[in-house]
Amino acid sequence: MGRQAEATAQRLRRLARALIQDSEIADSLVIATLTIHEARAVPLTRMIATLIGLRRKHDDAPARAIQAHPPRGPAAPADVARAFEHLPLADREVLALVAVEHLSYEEAAAVLDIGFADFIGRLTRARTSLARVVDGEHHVVLRVVK
């Protein structure tokens, strides 16, 4: 089995996990993506676009209740990840492509099939939303209630 094919599958898994919390569903999205591009050498960005298309067909689990806590120091990575989970899928997509997959803005816009200006607007909105949830516009830290 090619090392490159494995590396591609690992990157697809990482992206899938960023876009959906359930690891089994994430793996099934990766397998479905690999099935669609069966044994064909296609660019990674095309596989990513396929995976995102498949992810959009899945409904998100109902958002868990969140509760305000008094402010603390700078948010820890786990806090940021929790806040990220609460963003709409469109926001998670742009952030995952840039911050997790490190695609160029042009590549990410092409993956999402949107214009460059739209992409920049969406990225700015997603970052604003994430910051609002992480830091809290009203100086609260949002925490997940289990």
Partner: protein, 110 residues
């Protein structure tokens, strides 16, 4: 626009995708806007946090289901035509050499 800087440039600053010269210029422009600079730093922290949280997943061993899928997706091995040609020429040369050696051993007295 994010303050005095276009959104594209502001995001590129956050993602550290500006050339050193442009980054210096942008930081100078943001010096008069502490709120924008703080926002850039916060966004940068958030991006780095997301990168660090998800990075280990790309190094995890693949689950069996994905490995099996990858194996099934591999095309059946087909020899490269160029390699086949090379092997054929080698075998032909070897056969000719053996025949010549055999003929020589029969007709040239030792």
């Amino acid at each position: 626009m994010t303050g005095a800087v276009p959104d594209e440039t502001f995001n590129a600053l956050v993602d550290q995708r500006l050339s050193p010269k442009t980054e210096r210029e942008v930081r100078q422009r943001l010096e008069g806007e502490p709120q924008a600079l703080a926002r850039a730093l916060a966004w940068q922290r958030h991006s780095e946090a997301l990168g660090s949280v998800f990075a280990p997943i790309a190094h995890e061993p693949l689950p069996l289901s994905v490995l099996l899928k990858l194996q099934a997706s591999q095309p059946a091995w087909r020899p490269d035509p160029g390699m086949l040609r090379t092997v054929a020429v080698f075998c032909l040369g070897l056969a000719c050499g053996l025949v010549l050696a055999w003929l020589a051993s029969r007709h040239i007295p030792l």
